[in-house]
């Protein structure tokens, strides 16, 4: 090892804070086992870590102090060797708390870099979300539901060590499995976690993603103004209020759609999104009233349509809607765009009905919603029971079905 290596860990603020820290710490501790050095830090601007906000941790591993300093003479790495994504819905891109503009999740990867995603999805489904890149990179999947080893509760599902084991396999010149194992023993004093790391090492699934493959969408960018261009006094000019909406089918004009400042998008905080069955809606206005982000547009026919570019996926609308399955939160990875559901429904009611049924049935709810407490434990048991190995070639042992080890199976 004659140069430094950089690893970026993209995670959801609060939900996965502890998990991300474990991973970046684990890397540096393992480096120290091999006589190398390193530093582990979080992207500071993300630190308020509101629920679900995409946030980043970094680990820099170097053979010696001087090489480490070379890498640290910048705010954060401009290119990384490995990007870890601990929630697959982040593959749609990130808008960090203190950033503007959507950044592809593979943005910092250099040619041949490794993108490690925790997911139950396959390569194709992930690549529908991950933006296409102009250099090839390697995509690796660590099988498992996104872990929520967060700030509030740390459920040790071994995702941390499974990712460490995976990294040892993908970038052996940075860290050996032996170093990772030694660091795990030292830091967590848990032989089962060592086993989990080793299993992940042997099981990782990878594919090389050629240039141009992936989500073709152009991520939007934000231009930072110079000091002469900026309005004085930290003033932001207001934008037009918005106005009536035109029904794309009947031409009827009415309702109201608030205008939205294009720079304040934040839908990448979302792990689930509401799916609305307009035929069940009784027009009670509760969703419109309660949405904390004022996402609902009033349509000319008096319905409520979510503006998906603003929805943060909090689930409040589902919780307040009095009609069962009129609003249903569905895993974000089931969607490839932010189209208006109301326009889809208007254009093809039959097709829309089938679409809603498919979205609701095929996509299980996520574990960290505010409404459904305890679901995570249920999911962990279910996942352990089916075994996480492809093809189920390995039986899950008794101790592996406990909450603590499901992710490591």
């Amino acid at each position: 090892m004659d140069r430094s290596y950089a690893v970026e860990i993209i995670y959801r603020g609060i939900f996965q804070k502890t998990l991300a820290k474990h991973i970046s710490r684990g890397l540096v501790l393992a480096a120290a086992k091999e006589g190398k050095t390193g530093i582990s830090f979080g992207r500071y601007g993300d630190s308020p870590e509101r629920n679900g906000i995409p946030a980043k941790n970094f680990a820099i591993i170097a053979p010696d102090e001087v090489t480490l300093e070379e890498s640290m003479a910048q705010y954060e790495p401009k290119q990384v060797d490995v990007t870890v994504v601990v929630d697959d819905t982040l593959c749609k891109g990130v808008e960090s708390w203190a950033w503007y503009g959507l950044q592809p999740v593979n943005r910092l990867l250099g040619p041949g870099g490794k993108l490690v995603v925790t997911s139950m999805l396959g390569f194709d489904d992930l690549l529908k979300m991950i933006h296409a890149k102009d250099v090839p990179y390697e995509l690796a999947i660590v099988r498992g539901i996104p872990s929520f080893s967060g700030l509030w509760v740390f459920k040790d599902d071994h995702t941390d060590v499974r990712i460490l084991g995976t990294i040892a396999r993908l970038v052996p010149e940075m860290l050996s499995l032996a170093a990772i194992e030694a660091a795990i023993r030292d830091e967590w004093k848990d032989e089962l976690k060592v086993t989990s790391a080793r299993k992940a090492y042997s099981r990782v699934e990878t594919t090389v993603v050629p240039p141009g493959v992936g989500n073709p969408e152009q991520p939007y960018a934000f231009t930072l103004p110079g000091w002469r261009e900026m309005p004085e006094g930290i003033a932001i000019r207001n934008i037009p209020m918005g106005g009536a909406i035109t029904d794309p089918v009947t031409g009827q004009v009415g309702g109201y759609r608030a205008a939205v400042n294009p720079y304040f998008k934040k839908f990448t905080t979302r792990t689930m999104r509401p799916v609305i069955d307009f035929e069940k809606c009784i027009k009670c206005t509760l969703c419109w009233l309660q949405c904390p982000d004022s996402c609902f547009d009033v349509t000319p026919d008096g319905l409520y349509d979510v503006r998906m570019e603003s929805c943060c996926g909090c689930g409040v609308c589902e919780a307040v809607c009095p009609i069962e399955h009129c609003i249903t939160m569905v895993n974000e990875s089931a969607f490839t765009d932010n189209r208006s559901q109301w326009e889809m429904w208007k254009a093809d009611r039959e097709g829309y009905r089938a679409w809603v049924a498919e979205k609701i049935s095929a996509r299980p709810e996520r574990a960290h919603g505010f409404r459904l407490r305890g679901l995570y434990q249920e999911q962990i048991k279910a996942l352990a029971a089916v075994g996480l190995a492809p093809g189920g070639e390995e039986k899950v042992g008794r101790e592996d079905t406990t909450e603590a080890s499901a992710g490591g199976a």
Binding site: S40, Y44, P48, Y75
Partner: protein, 407 residues
């Protein structure tokens, strides 16, 4: 050349991967601090969180008081110190400003207090990044001020700060400037000294005749009208004038006991021996500056760096003697003093003042860079060096340049 020279003998240290804030918290534990107050503000809150953890885990025994504001936080430790408790406190940015009234009265009461300032921009607009204006605001109040560069230096300097502040010759509060994010939030491998060694280095705090206690009946801070003020100020001044000697002794003892050598306590010199021009700055600036210097030296440009640690007391003569050796001096300020002489940063003005009476007065160019946590890049450092060579060549330059500003 490393910041800190490695000890030549193993001294029972253990190595841990901790952040700069955590290093200060560990120092609190090692110093066996009696009273700590907390009120959250980033980036300082990482210290209180870690101290809370140490207390909760039974690793540390202290009064941990969550105050209802920064103002109360500093008042609480002020009184605790008056009765003889070793104290720790801290804040950041506008939180530190909220405590300002308490900060102003502490030196006059000759209260040794160690505070960490997790340096942060003064809002608006809700910026969390490093800027030194928060800590520098107490520049003229009688506080000692020291800036650190690494997590290791943060731990060591905290131990030194108690030792210096609690010396009867000094008895002044001391604030440790820790750059937000770069230092407070990055985890590095830090050597943690054994508790016995710390006990050897740091004697118990003895407030002696000034201890507010029933056994020592005194009144502290009665109403002092106009007749008293100048004398009180002069006493503070005398204490501050005694501080440099105490600082020197403390660092010498530190080296003897822990084996880590800081050399000149007041400022660090990097590649200055044969340097033609030098840059000067405080805190974590040194990382990009040193890397840039290594690159520029390969190209034959003899650039050095002086990292100022102690800002109060200011090492006037020593610094002037050092800087007099070079053809030009560039001062990088991570702060700004609006409307000040030459429209400069605070440090540049202090450096110019220090040089005024010196026999050798190189031209001083001020650079405002990295405000609000903006990255100070290697190209930024090159740009500053270019200006320095022009100044060294006799060109009359603008007094202050803003580097890395979006025009």
């Amino acid at each position: 050349m490393a910041t800190v020279q490695e000890p030549t003998v193993a001294l029972g240290d253990k190595e841990e991967l901790i952040s700069g804030s955590e290093a200060i918290a560990v120092a609190c534990k090692l110093a066996d601090v009696d009273v700590i107050t907390a009120y959250p503000i980033r980036p300082y809150d990482t210290v209180m969180q870690y101290v809370a953890k140490l207390v909760a885990n039974g690793e540390m025994d202290c009064e941990y008081i969550v105050a209802e504001s920064e103002h109360s936080q500093f008042e609480i430790v002020k009184h605790a110190s008056a009765v003889g408790a070793r104290v720790f406190v801290g804040s950041s940015g506008v939180g530190w400003m909220y405590a300002f009234e308490a900060l102003t009265v502490t030196p006059a009461l000759r209260i040794p207090m160690v505070a960490m300032v997790g340096n942060r921009a003064l809002d608006d607009p809700g910026a969390f990044g490093v800027e030194h204006n928060d800590a520098l605001a107490v520049r003229d109040l009688g506080w000692m001020l020291v800036w650190v560069d690494t997590a290791q230096e943060a731990l060591d300097t905290a131990l030194l700060a108690w030792r210096i502040a609690e010396d009867r010759r000094v008895f002044l509060p001391c604030a440790i400037g820790c750059d937000g994010a770069f230092l407070t939030h990055s985890q590095a491998l830090v050597r943690i000294p054994a508790a016995e060694r710390v006990r050897e280095f740091l004697p118990p705090y003895n407030r002696g005749d000034l201890r507010l206690h029933p056994d020592n009946p005194i009144t502290v801070a009665p109403q002092a009208n106009e007749d008293w003020v100048m004398e009180i100020r002069k006493q503070n001044d005398a204490a501050m004038r005694r501080a440099p000697q105490v600082i020197r002794e403390a660092y010498a003892d530190f080296e003897r006991i822990f084996g880590r050598r800081y050399g000149n306590p007041f400022f660090e010199e990097y590649e200055t021996e044969d340097a033609e021009v030098v840059l000067l700055g405080m805190g974590t600036l040194s990382m990009p500056v040193k890397v840039a210097i290594r690159k520029m030296r390969k190209e034959g440009r003899k650039v050095g760096f002086v990292r100022l640690r102690w800002f109060r007391p200011f090492p006037t003569e020593a610094l002037a003697a050092c800087l007099g050796r070079f053809a030009a001096v560039g001062v990088i300020d991570r702060d700004y003093s609006f409307g000040s002489p030459y429209y400069s940063g605070v440090v540049a003005n202090e450096v110019r003042t220090a040089l005024y009476a010196a026999p050798q007065r190189p031209p001083v160019v001020g650079f405002i860079c990295g405000l609000g946590g903006r990255e100070v890049t290697v190209p930024n450092v090159r740009e500053m060096t270019d200006y320095l060579y022009r100044a060294a060549g006799g060109e009359r330059l603008v007094d202050t340049y803003w580097i890395g500003l979006r025009e």
